[in-house]
């Protein structure tokens, strides 16, 4: 178990290194920040000066060397746009995203598991049909459209909820609801399928022959086995949210890491892009580790 986690850590570190190299050089390809940050009529001298200050005149490889040296000290440099340490800017945004992702995924997981299990146990019933329909709609709904319709309906027409920004509990409702839909649809489908397989398995037959009641058969015998494939999907969906729900964050003016990344790319704020990618990559690494641990906790065959 610990050796498996060790191997995971090493391979994740290597992917992180590759990621740093790729992102550093690719972001350099987007163009010269001096062209964006200085007035259109800035003199060549001013541009040179700007490049000199930010080390943009050095050969790219030298820039990369400096960058790596700083990274080791957790120094991602300053944001060009905000003139603050890039890491600080990113962590601020990431906190918002993390909260949004955690709340959404907790709700999604609870709802999908409850409804999916019941649907699987009452296969073919009206409840099962409704669950399947919901999951199909959820999995295929375009979030940007739902977001806009949501604003029009609940904020503009009914005036119940704020259109965008943060500040109160009410501000969270629309973004969470919109982000909820797709993972809910997908996970519901996986829970239902996986539960149907597990309910048809031989050990459930044994439990029925033992005289175990229905509720423990569903929630004790079957659910834990059925959770194994579900956890993988939950992980994937959570990773997507951690990366920053770009569209939803932009529409709701939510100051998360997705919105920050888009803004930074558009404004060639290299240090922030890199810091944001490193932070989300690290978060996804941690989450994969948690999934591995959850797997091992649920399935003794992995542990022993």
């Amino acid at each position: 178990m610990s050796s498996m986690l060790g191997k995971r850590a090493v391979s994740s570190f290597i992917s992180l290194m590759v990621l740093i190299v790729l992102v550093f050089f690719l972001s350099r390809l987007t163009g010269d920040p001096a062209a964006l940050y200085l007035p259109v009529d800035a003199s060549e001298e001013m541009r040179q000066n700007f490049r000199e200050i930010h080390g943009l005149n050095d050969p790219v490889l030298v820039q990369f060397g400096h960058y790596l040296a700083d990274l080791v000290r957790f120094d991602f440099g300053d944001s060009l746009r905000k003139a603050r340490p890039a890491l600080e800017v990113v962590l601020e945004a990431f906190t918002w995203t993390l909260e949004l992702a955690l709340i959404t995924m907790a709700l999604v997981t609870a709802a999908a598991i409850a409804l999916g299990s019941l649907a699987a146990f009452n296969i073919g019933s009206p409840l099962d049909r409704i669950a399947s329909l919901l999951s199909l709609i959820g999995a295929s709904a375009p979030d940007f459209w739902i977001a806009i319709v949501g604003i029009v309906l609940f904020s503009v027409s009914l005036g119940w909820l704020p259109t965008s920004g943060t500040g109160s509990v009410w501000h969270w409702i629309l973004p969470i609801s919109v982000l909820f839909i797709r993972p809910f649809g997908l996970i519901l489908q996986v829970v239902r399928g996986s539960m149907i397989t597990a309910l048809g398995s031989a050990y459930v037959k044994t439990a029925r022959a033992k005289g175990v009641k229905n509720r423990p058969i569903i929630f004790v015998h079957t659910l834990r086995n059925a959770m194994l494939p579900v956890i993988t999907v939950i992980g994937d969906q959570a990773a997507a949210l951690l990366n920053g729900a770009v569209v939803v964050e932009t529409i709701f003016g939510f100051p998360g890491v997705g919105k920050l990344m888009i803004d930074s790319i558009l404004q060639r704020d290299f240090n922030v892009i890199l810091a944001a990618i490193m932070v989300t990559a690290l978060a996804i690494f941690v989450m994969n580790l948690l999934i591995d641990i959850a797997y091992a906790l649920l399935d003794p065959r992995i542990r022993t």
Partner: protein
Amino acid sequence: MAEHLLEVRDLSVRFHTARGVVNAVNGISWHLDRGETLAILGESGSGKSVSASAIMNLIDCPPGEITSGQILFEGRDLLTLGGEARREINGRRIAMIFQDPLSHLNPVYPVGWQIAEAGMAHGESRHDAYARTLELMRRVGIPEPDAAMKKYPHQFSGGQRQRLMIAMALVLKPDILIADEPTTALDVTVQAEVLSLLEELQEETGMGLLLITHDLGVVAEAADRAVVMQGGRIVETGTPRELYHNAQHPYTRKLLAAAPGKGAMRQADERPAPILQVRGLTKSYGAFTALKCADFDLRAGETLAVVGESGSGKSTVARLILRLEEASGGEALWKGEDLLKKSHRQMAPLRRQLQMVFQDPTQSLAPHMSVFEIISEAWAIHRDILPKARWRARVTELLEQVGLQPEHADRYPHQFSGGQRQRIAIARALALEPELIICDEAVSALDVSIQAQVIDLLGRLRDELGIAFIFIAHDLPVVRDFADRVLVMQKGEIVEQGPVTEIFERPRELYTQRLLAAGLDADPDVQAGRRAARLALAG
């Protein structure tokens, strides 16, 4: 008329499937008394397990439908009782164990909890249930029961898992135990132990035992009475002796005739020169040695059986010779050339001389390829054998040779029965005109009557084409009928080898004697002798 403990009257069950209605059982009736062992004997598809599922309320309706009948337990008809009343009976009054205990135990919970749950589900306190679990685990012979309670199913052997299932069934001292093919997946020696355990427990508790099986030997060993089922109907009922000596129904007679181990044994021909000489063949996985210094010869046209329990290394021999795995040491001289030293490129032309037929044809035939493609694929690889224009004709020929029809060439594996699939696998092996075919448990998964047909086919091919066989099997009666020489393996070593008559009539090693005594015979009188021999050897 005295009331029976359990009586099934005129039960009919059908299933609504995509391919229409299937009548699983049609108006069957049987009864079971206290302290009695009733066997339901039948081949796959005979409906032998359906009445047990109906008793345990395990038939899902739909797609199942119970169209007629009664199941009387202590005068009450189970089929008219409500769900909660039936749950009360399951586990407490009537318990059931199954074939393949690995999949029937929940993989993610400790076995101690799973056994105790049988008590707790019926209102026993946690403390009592665990105390009883410990007692039962000791009773069924699980070593170190305290520690074993906390282990998970995958940490036990097949025989131990079945013992755990038995313990689970006995927590509440049921009146009836239903055992559905309880020993089918187990080694012969383990099978004999599990059957004796069931018998002892039955004597202690006086429960009625319903034994569902396809194995005439199990009936001869354990049953007081047996019902024979075919196509959802009971064709005959009687004691094992009556059935064996005086079978009335043609189907029972056919089953008895198909039971292997009755024909004349072959006389090994010592004259031909060896085509395969194996010396010091060894395979280790890390510190574990799967095969230690195996030495044996195979003569041209000879059938060499390799027998032993699971884990004895018998399949490893085959995999090493065919280079499906790399040996750790030794040599395998095929007509004087060491197969183990060949590069993969040098091995390719030799592979057509050495073919293999696996145990499970469902897995060894590619599901998306037609029979024609499966058989002719070999000619696409070894291009010099046959020009493409003749492929179709040759496939037809091969199919006829293995007893299939020419029109089967364009069907897919899933459209065939298990026996037919194994014939396809044999035709595929024959396509390369091999000199040696290695059969790894090639008939183990087949019903007795189908098994007999496939063995007949292999025997015919041996006589007509002079093919040599290495026949890996755990089923001794089949080996007795088919082999020239036998190699007995235990824990990676060859403990004894010799002509089939020697091994079966004058076994030298204690292990071979045990193995032979553990094998079950369809004749209850022979079986009684075996049983005595087994007890003598164990004592």
